[in-house]
Amino acid sequence: MASVLRADQISKSFGPIEVLSGITLALMPGEVHAVIGENGAGKSTLMRILSGHLPPTKGTLYLNEQERRFSGPVEAEHEGIVLVHQEILLAEDLTVAQNLFLGREIRRYGFVDDGAMRAKSRAILSELGVTLDPDTEVRRLSIADRQLVQIARALLVPHKVVVFDEPTAVLTPVEAESLFEIIRRLRAQGVAVLYISHRLNEVKAIADRVTVLRDGRLIGTHDIEGLEPIEMARLMVGRDMSKLYPDKPETASDQVVLSVRDMAVPGYVEHASFDLKRGEILGFGGLIGAGRTELFEGLVGLRTSTGSITLNGKPVRFTDGRDAMAAGIAYLSEDRKGKGLLLQQNLRVNLTLAALDRFSRGSFVDTAKEEATLDTAIRDFDIRARQRDMLAGQLSGGNQQKLLLAKMMLIEPQIVIIDEPTRGVDIGTKEQIYRFIASLAEEGRAVVVISSEMQELIGLCHRVLVMRNGRVAGEVGRADLSEDAIVFLATGVHEERAAEIAAGHV
């Protein structure tokens, strides 16, 4: 069979640095082709070249076996190559229909024809198996629904090749399953799907073939038959990855350090109660939107909340994030770029921001001490920065997370709350972060891990609390930790039925 899109010996350099070298890849119609690799392996660059956002430095693209050069993404789109971006790029104040047709509005007598666009939107959404009202403002949609709108928008143009860039990074299993349903539908229509993901289990479930990149080089293209996730990880990293999670430290005690009763965050959380013990890693699972982040933001005073908090036996009340930090509670936001780090500032400024008092002599900042601490942090946390004066925004996702960890550890917290510790982080860095979290517990700190990756909760935590619709739905003890147990509490149904629910067979 002839390929619909083929890259032959593609290389890409930015200045003197080659980020891709000699990549060859053929996309067949009706196949789901996964591209995997660590952060920095060149996946995104390859995607951008294939979808016309970047020209290759060397090598040739063939469209339907004809040599082709794209002047830009618009031209690639005309040829039916569409890219579904990783970030949500929608205008929040516009409705679903207005977003779908943004920049390509249907017009009648020079005026926008809302009726026609609404009708067409409804048709497209139902074709994707999505039930969304075209008149809803995007700001009122969940992240998962926004993602679906973004996909619908991409598929609005006639398409032969659809590129998904880490589409499930923000989705829960049920939501991911409905996305897979869309992808399978595309495949059945003879569309070629290029699928980039960190989640190897998903790749196993959805892909027909897998291309592995490492350090900008092609490692190989394999059929999915007989290729297990553990083997994919080994190909990506270039070494054995069977031991991703460290041993759970045997430091979990019965000594309650933090006790929360009847916590409520208006609009998000009701009647949440739990205890956190010294030396334990407590997981918080649940679907996105279940109120996990809001619960902890309320707890540390970043949102208004009610309820009683007892810290080391004393009742406390935090009115802003500062209070909680002073009391020894660090909260690491899931939104690293938006709430964790100053992307336009350098590493030193970011590192010391939360603990600046410790770097002050009188009212002046002791820069020499800051620099020394940066040295220590770069070494202890293995932050890989090509230069010390880089901006935080120039670090890869994994290194940003390490910098954020280093930053919050400077306040020497007794309780560490980490929201989505490995979102957007490559697998090699994941392993480091897991080991670090385990070491926190070994040092006698109490750790809360909020995660949408169930494997992570199971591999890392002593016990897991699961939230559903703003309430704590239940607890899974160490002996009972399994994906099914978590999914059951998160959704009220067992995992095998989740796929059916997503497919609308219930």
């Binding site: 952060n39 392996a41 995104s44 802003d320 994030g321 002050s360």
Partner: protein, 331 residues
């Protein structure tokens, strides 16, 4: 996308950052050369001293504006505030009346106290009212301006005691070792401003707040206090500028300080401070203020363009400065 950013060759980026910080200084050099070519009188010590003295008010106010703007805010009320503070200061001096140093001290104290209060009002409304600083300071700009018109009954407030005027005169017209006092004050304000912005944790917090308010909040920065304080600093700077301004003419009118906010913001932006916050350059601001005054001076000396068009040229400069910044940033 992260990959691309990560692997962008580093040396050129460093060069770019330097260019951004350096461009106002380069512009200054170019202007001085241009001025020297156009008129031989330009490069005389007396002319240059005159230029720097004349820009002192705007420069001092602009140092305060650097704090507000790099903290992600904006203050449009500075011109009206200066007029109001000048008027109240002169009224205070007239009320006490005796030509003594203590009178001057009390008048100055009143001026600084009022300017702190005005800045505090701006800061508190922005912070606790959670209203856009543009709107808040647009409102207070109108209020301050109306108050000075009302106090002056539409006319002029003048220092009545001539002996007191004579006593106060050296603060604008005097010099120390040949350096005019306004210039000394302005350099001192800039040096203290630079010290606070670059060396203290408060200054670090201002930059953090301007870069990303959420990150600052999640990092435990006391954002309400920091934000309010930037407006208070702006107020103090206006107060200091007024102290130097009043002896120059010895009066305040409804048109005192008109469009100073435009000139202060222009000086800040020319200097390389980011209007959206997160980057603050005190010395750039100082150079920006000098550039504005130099352009006016060169226009007066050259006869190419009518000096009535100075405002238009200064307006054009702010737009050009933004375009230059943008192109340096993109490349």
């Amino acid at each position: 996308m992260t990959e691309t950013a990560l692997r962008t060759p580093a040396p050129s980026r460093r060069f770019k950052i330097d260019m951004r910080a350096l461009s106002p200084f380069l512009a200054l050099v170019v202007l001085v050369i241009a001025g020297a070519l156009i008129n031989p009188d330009f490069l005389t010590a007396s002319n240059l001293t005159n230029v720097v003295t004349r820009c002192a008010f705007i420069a001092i106010i602009a140092v305060g504006a650097t704090f507000v703007i790099s903290g992600g805010g904006l203050d449009l009320s500075v011109g009206s505030m200066a007029a109001l503070v000048a008027g109240v200061m002169i009224l205070t001096l007239n009320r006490i009346g005796t030509p003594e140093v203590s009178t001057l001290a009390l008048g100055m104290l009143a001026a600084i106290a009022l300017s702190v209060a005005c800045g505090m009002a701006n800061g508190l409304i922005v912070t606790f009212g959670r209203i856009e600083p543009f709107i808040v300071t647009l409102g207070t700009m109108g209020i301050f301006r109306a108050l000075i018109i009302w106090l002056a009954a539409g006319g002029t407030i003048t220092m009545r005691n001539l002996d007191l005027r004579e006593l106060y005169r050296p603060v604008y017209f005097g010099d120390v070792f040949g350096i005019p006092i306004p210039v000394i004050v302005f350099l001192a304000v800039a040096a203290i401003g630079a010290l606070i912005l670059y060396r203290t944790s408060f200054g670090r917090h201002v930059i953090a707040l301007g870069s990303n308010e959420d990150v600052a909040r999640y990092s435990g920065v006391p954002i309400w206090r920091v934000r309010t304080l930037t407006y208070v600093i702006q107020g103090i700077c206006v107060g200091i500028a007024v102290l130097v301004y009043v002896p120059r003419l010895g009066s305040a009118t409804p048109t005192t300080g008109l469009l100073w906010e435009l000139q202060a913001i222009t000086a800040v932006v020319i200097g390389g401070t980011a209007l959206k916050g997160g980057i603050g350059r005190i010395w750039g601001t100082v150079v920006g203020a000098i550039i504005l005054e130099l352009v006016a001076n060169i226009m007066v000396l050259s006869n190419f363009v009518s000096e009535f068009l100075v405002g238009a040229v200064q307006g054009a400069i702010i737009i050009i400065a933004m375009l230059v910044q943008r192109s340096l940033y993109r490349r």
